[in-house]
């Protein structure tokens, strides 16, 4: 049975970006949020350190300095006008959250307090600046809760535990709605609408060790990719240096900000060799690469020799308890390590997708070199690529991104929905979805979904990781081909209709394979090293040839076609990236 719903506009994904959009839309047009999780389960809630804005509450600051840091941090692959928009609108965005009740930490005179974070500086790199607004070490949690509260206040219509499985487009390319699978019943629903915003988050689960939730499987990017939309800069994936060993759970950058030191198995402070000036406070991409090198040269510890250690034993225990309580709790609970007395085993952890669905600054999805607008289609948050993070995102800019561009996308989509007519549904709207699900459900014997995913995650973590080579990436392409063949034979144990989480996970594996295809394709063509993307065979940044975005398209025959578009420049001329 298929139920058809009609709304003016849809939001796919109920995390930070989705709810920021929905708040804007619900006052303007009939809006529904379709989310595979209850909104407060979204991974926005896992963000710890802060959300930045040049409020200048503690030290002199300016949005222009913030924009410079963002562009430099992104190794000049950032679209500079978009960075300007984000950094200017950061200030009203933070004030808005405060007026909605977000419990920011306060200065003694009652203003929103601010603290330091990696890469945020005053006067174009002159000195560190306190720019990150925060609510203890649960800033993301408070943003997610505050946005949800505002959605409750506005009586936003949520379809919780509805899994969006297809984007519906008319023959002339207009967005007509989506198909979603109701987890509680196994029924399909068609949602018709004039505008659709994808805000489904990242795809860190393509990697073995990740800070991402189990549910972050690139659903949105894969869905639109299958419908002819390109994915931008997918090779740009951030590996955070300090993930908890084995688990990948994030240990906030604040640990190094407070004086934490990364050591190898011999106890050596190896960052002194890689970044003699700023040592452990080097940016994320640099520290992750140094760790990789230590492990490769046999100085990693742990049962498989692939761990290094975060040492905070020299810090005042009071500072640890007050400023780094999460880290201490994670280490104690999950590794039975006492961080005040002994170093904590860490591994670089797949953390954040800088790339994603290409959009303009109003969240409109755009394709090709000329940025043709896809009518009625929008995206924001981690699943989108505006691009404000370029080749490497600065800490605290992700929460800001989802606030600013979630809101802008919501406003633009609502205006679009007011103007537009409801497009006709394509014929047999649910057929591709039904076919996809039935193929999985009807097979009694076949390949185990968990095995395919494990192989994918293990190989991606080896071959499309912090350091990449043509040889490794080509091998990964072959592996992906084999995994796709196995996925075509995937069989699951649950054949039921009620909360068939087995089926959901199998579909997710398909999305992860798509995202991995795009990551590897982008990594292979980009023959340079920039930000998070490091090619051992092309170790230098090459502005002459590669100061441009990659656009990967999925062709009908399954192959991938690459296009490119220029980076939108601005006042900042690319310089060598030194800190």
């Amino acid at each position: 049975m298929v139920t058809t719903h009609t709304y003016d506009a849809l939001v796919i994904g109920g995390g930070g970006a989705g709810m920021a959009a929905a708040i804007e839309m619900s006052d303007r047009v009939r809006t529904a949020v379709i989310s595979k999780l209850y909104p407060t389960r979204s991974h926005t809630g896992a963000a710890q350190g802060g959300v930045c804005a040049a409020l200048g509450n503690v030290e002199e600051d300016s949005p222009e300095w913030h924009a410079f840091d963002t562009v430099k941090g992104g190794d000049y692959l950032v679209d500079q006008p978009a960075a300007m928009v984000m950094c200017e609108e950061a200030i009203p965005a933070i004030y808005q959250l405060e007026r909605w009740g977000l419990p920011f930490n306060r200065t003694p005179d009652g203003k929103i307090d601010q603290r330091r974070f990696g890469g945020h500086t005053a006067e174009h790199g002159e000195r560190p600046v306190k720019r990150a607004c925060y609510a203890a070490d649960r800033t993301g949690h408070m943003i997610l809760q505050t946005l949800y509260q505002q959605c409750v206040k506005r009586d936003v219509r949520f379809f919780n535990e509805f899994y969006c499985l297809d984007l519906l487009r008319t023959d002339d390319g207009r967005t007509a709605g989506v198909v979603a699978y109701e987890l509680a019943t196994g029924e399909l629903h068609v949602f018709r609408a004039k505008a659709v915003i994808f805000t489904t988050g990242g795809f860190g689960r393509a990697y073995k060790v990740t800070s991402n939730a189990h549910t972050l499987t690139g659903d949105g990017p894969s869905l639109v990719w299958r419908r002819g939309i390109p994915l931008e800069d997918m090779e740009m994936f951030q590996f955070h240096p300090t993930g908890l060993a084995r688990l990948g759970v994030l240990l906030s950058e604040a640990a190094r900000g407070e004086g934490g030191i990364v050591r190898n198995k011999d106890g050596e402070r190896f960052m002194e060799r890689y970044a003699p000036t700023i040592k452990d406070l080097a940016p994320r991409d640099l520290v992750s690469r140094a760790i990789y090198q230590e492990i490769k040269e046999g100085r990693g510890g742990g049962p498989n020799g692939d761990w290094t250690f975060l040492d905070i034993t020299h810090l005042d225990p009071k500072v640890i308890e007050e400023k780094l309580p999460d880290i201490t709790e994670f280490a104690r609970i999950y590794l039975k390590v006492e961080p005040t007395k002994e170093p904590v085993p860490i591994q670089p952890t797949a953390h954040y997708a800088m790339g994603g669905i290409p959009t303009d600054v109003d969240g409109r999805v755009v394709t090709g070199e000329n940025e043709d607008i896809v009518p009625g289609l929008y995206s924001a948050g981690e699943c989108a690529c505006v691009s404000v993070h370029g080749a490497n995102r600065l800490g605290t800019n992700s929460l800001l991104d989802l606030l600013v561009f979630g809101k802008r996308a919501g406003v633009a989509a609502a205006e679009d929905a007011i103007e537009a007519d409801l497009p006709a549904l394509p014929a047999n709207a649910t057929e591709p979805t039904l076919e996809m699900l039935n193929r999985i459900l009807e097979r009694d014997k076949g390949d185990n979904m968990a095995d395919i995913r494990k192989e994918l995650q293990t190989q991606m973590f080896d071959l499309a990781f912090v350091v990449r080579t043509a040889e490794g990436l080509t091998k990964m392409q072959e592996i992906l081909g084999g995994l796709r063949e196995r996925f075509d034979r995937v069989a699951i144990g649950d054949k039921g209709s009620v909360f068939n989480m087995d089926l959901m996970e199998a579909v997710e594996v398909g999305f992860l394979l798509d995202c991995s295809d795009a990551i590897v394709a982008g990594s292979l063509v980009r023959e340079e090293s920039r930000g998070a993307h490091f090619r051992e065979d092309f170790p230098l940044r090459d502005d002459a040839n590669w100061l441009k975005h990659t656009l990967a398209y999925r062709e009908d025959d399954g192959s991938i076609r690459m296009e490119y578009k220029p980076v939108k420049m601005g006042p900042y001329v690319p310089m060598e990236r030194k800190y």
Binding site: R246, G301, L335, V337, V498
Partner: protein, 254 residues
């Protein structure tokens, strides 16, 4: 200070990095599947696992390699999203915050109590969220919006800090014997979220919330059993928050 090498060479086998160990864990799960039967039943598996495996990953191992029909919610797997609240050996907890060795050799897992079970460990969260929504869980201030930020002293901010930690996992509410017996009771989590706004100096609707909570479905149903405080995976002093709300209603002081 122990060096990394010393940590790794340590003889203490309770710690990560010690030489690989496995322990045997028997997992007993109360099952329910409306497509199969209207009665619940028990299934049991015995697995070898790393002592430091999270219980949620043990459940994954069962689901992925033994019985794909086993259904439970999970997402972040490190205690911040609140999806995997379960009754584990008789106490409510998040399955991602317990390790195999915390519960070995045998663990009994049931759905949290007092909410309709939909399948296995998945319960209907809507009645729980109805209670949450009933307390007006959003900042209300009609005195005109400032153009920038409102000021709040660190002391005033601290007053409601504890109750801002709530992740709506329902561990507290579904550990409450009053809630088990009477699902019209609004429950600890809703009161925690009301507390978060009642004691926020920026909010002006404390009286409205206290009126809601003073009804017979409200805060005075609480019998101070402290189950909620014990169950909270975020360490919120839930019972204390409830007592503060009661006192505020009685003395109109907040």
């Amino acid at each position: 200070m122990a060096t990394a090498a010393e940590v790794l060479n340590s003889s203490d086998d309770q710690r990560v990095g010690a030489k690989a160990r496995t322990i045997s864990l028997t997992v007993r799960v109360r099952r329910f599947n409306p497509e199969k039967s209207q009665e619940s039943w028990w299934d049991e598996w015995t697995l070898d696992c790393d002592p430091l495996d999270r219980l949620v990953e043990v459940l994954h191992e069962i689901k992925w390699y033994h019985d794909g029909t086993l259904a439970f919610r999970r997402s972040c797997a490190h205690g911040i999203c609140g999806s995997d609240a379960m009754m584990i050996n008789g106490r409510n907890a998040l399955a991602c915050k317990l390790l195999a060795e915390d519960v070995a050799p045998k663990v009994t897992i049931e759905p949290i109590r007092g909410l309709p079970v939909l399948k296995d460990l998945i319960v209907d969260m809507e009645p729980f969220l109805d209670g949450y929504k009933a307390v007006l869980p959003y900042l209300i201030n009609d005195s005109g919006e400032p153009s920038a930020e409102r000021l709040q002293s660190p002391e005033d901010r601290e007053r409601y800090d504890d109750t801002t930690k709530c992740i709506l996992c329902a561990c507290c509410t579904t550990s409450c014997p009053i809630f088990w017996g009477d699902d019209t009771y609004i429950g600890p989590a809703a009161i925690v979220n009301a507390h978060r706004f009642i004691f926020d100096t920026r909010d002006e609707a404390g009286r409205d919330r206290m009126k809601i909570l003073s009804e017979k479905t409200g805060v005075f149903r609480c019998r101070t059993t402290f189950n909620c405080t014990d169950a909270c995976p975020r360490g919120i002093e839930v019972t204390k928050a409830i007592q503060e709300v009661k006192r505020a209603i009685l003395f109109e002081r907040f």
